[in-house]
Symmetry: C2
Subunit: 105 residues, 2 copies
Amino acid sequence: MIAKTPKTPYYAVIFTTVRSEIDEGYVEMAERMLDLARSQKGFLGEESVRNELGITISYWESLDDIRLWRENSEHKIAQRLGKERWYESYKLRVAKVERDSEFGL
Amino acid sequence: MIAKTPKTPYYAVIFTTVRSEIDEGYVEMAERMLDLARSQKGFLGEESVRNELGITISYWESLDDIRLWRENSEHKIAQRLGKERWYESYKLRVAKVERDSEFGL
C-alpha cells in the first residue's frame, strides 16, 4: 500500500479531493483510471486514502510522463466527468520528490 | 480540509504510514504534533486522511523550515516514539511543489 518508489528524484502528483453526493459511476471510473495510469509510461506507483477527504498520490519518472498522462484521451473524459459529477472541489499539485526515507519497509 | 497554499513554488512533506496495533497515546501525540507544526515558521497548511493507510501532507515555505521542524526537540521525541510504538512502517518524502491547479475552491 505504501508505494515502492525508486531512488530520488522522481515526481508526485498529489490529488486532494472532496467528493460530491453523486456516487454513480465513480468507483468504476476510479478503478479504470488507476488501471490506465499503471499502463502509462513512467508510472512508478500510487497511494490512495479516503474518508471525508481523499488524497491520491501517483508517482512518475518525469514531468513529460505526467503531461502525457494528463493528455491521455480517456483520462481527459474522466477529468471532465469528475468536475461535472463526482467532485465538489479538488486541488492538484505536481511536485518533485527530492529526498525520501523509510521505516519498516 | 483542502489546504489553502500560496502561489508555487513551495514544499510538501508527504508522510505515508501503516499503523501498528498500539493505540495508546497516538491520537494525543498526533494532535500535539499538528498544533506544534502549525506554530512553526514557514508552515503553510496540512492535509490528512487515514483508513488502513494514512497520508499526512504538510506544506512549507522552504527546505530550511522543514529542517527546523524535523529537528524540533519535542518533534524528535515524537519521531522516536512513532518508530517504537505507533507505526509498523512509513515512507516520508520531501517534494518541491512546482505547479498546482484547483476546482471548486
